[in-house]
Symmetry: C3
Subunit: 167 residues, 3 copies
Amino acid sequence: MSAHKGSIAAEARATEASPAAPSSSFKIFHRVVDWITNERLQLINITDRINDIVRKSGVRDGIVHLQSLHTTTAVFLNEWQDALLADVRAILEDLVRRDGNWRHNDPRYSDCDRRNADSHLRGMLLGQALSLQVRNSAVLLGTWQSIILAEFDGPRSRTLSVQVSGI
Amino acid sequence: MSAHKGSIAAEARATEASPAAPSSSFKIFHRVVDWITNERLQLINITDRINDIVRKSGVRDGIVHLQSLHTTTAVFLNEWQDALLADVRAILEDLVRRDGNWRHNDPRYSDCDRRNADSHLRGMLLGQALSLQVRNSAVLLGTWQSIILAEFDGPRSRTLSVQVSGI
Amino acid sequence: MSAHKGSIAAEARATEASPAAPSSSFKIFHRVVDWITNERLQLINITDRINDIVRKSGVRDGIVHLQSLHTTTAVFLNEWQDALLADVRAILEDLVRRDGNWRHNDPRYSDCDRRNADSHLRGMLLGQALSLQVRNSAVLLGTWQSIILAEFDGPRSRTLSVQVSGI
């Protein structure tokens, strides 16, 4: 099933009579953003960068979807405050011990020599994909919500795929 | 606000020539829902409320996106059963101790006097944004799936932004 | 790259009264996929299956949304490597003990006799819904990202609802 037929009809009509507002047809905008990280566990505030992309997308209302292309990273929301960021590190180090008895770090079971089982498991807990609403050409965020990209196995070059869709 | 009106205009136009099915053009519908919470850690079943919004949206097939605008909250799925809800509290209190040695709660490092580091970290683990499918003008949910809004730092007034998009 | 240019082109086309490119109108495609699981905690690599569905959907750019209809399951991304999968099991068994003192497993509080509180809580931590980008008619995934369906209370028959939307 698709909206194909309906949209074509509507667009065709609009040209004959009064033009449909540019904002009323579905669009998808895409940008790839790269970061070089410096630390093994690093938190990066990407809110402004994402808002720039949303502004350029021409989408007024819709969804911005963020997807990191790396299993040993995460994307999530939290307040951007130094003390709290220290707590974010602390809880991740506590829930998933770096020195745990992980098979992924054991050459008898694994061909990976990065010893980054903790990085994979932390990424899994927080997730690599995040959808947020776009309203009035900006990312919808509460007063204390910042968008955070987490590096769990740096330093590395990291890629985030950003898709803005809507009207 | 919603794109509904814009789409209707385009469809009305289309009916003058060849009729497009009303359901076949992309729409976005938006509602803000507020809750007053009573407890510090409170779980609220918002399934019926979300289904009401989806029904009113005029979207038959698509996505409903829920985004709480507060870092010390979460939105997730689980069975709505008293015994299990007690276990949800227990696991959150166990994984993220309220009395942990958090910097966010320490006036030497933080200007926040709510002592709510645990609330932030619990919100981060479960997440504040959730997308669910809309099918036949209802939220798609399994038999035992309820949509739960979690308050982790109440009592407060809380806002959830609900966006329904699709055809 | 973005679909922006494509949409503009399609609109320009419409004004000439020749049909818009098939790829430029919004569509939604839906499939339900079932699995029979064999173990209590089982991890299933569903990447190829999801890519098949995306390919058949006719959507070139958009979102694929995966929603498991069961609270005692999860859908997430990670590397598909035997050693790491053992670690995924280990961390889940460590964070949420099967033999914890759960009310959901206690006949004094619960009418559920599956003793599956751990399954519910593990499903809640990892989540049952996942959105991923669709680019060039395929799921966008990094080199090491596989899509994993987790069974936490098998053996059972499990249903995943897959929705592909976009242009």
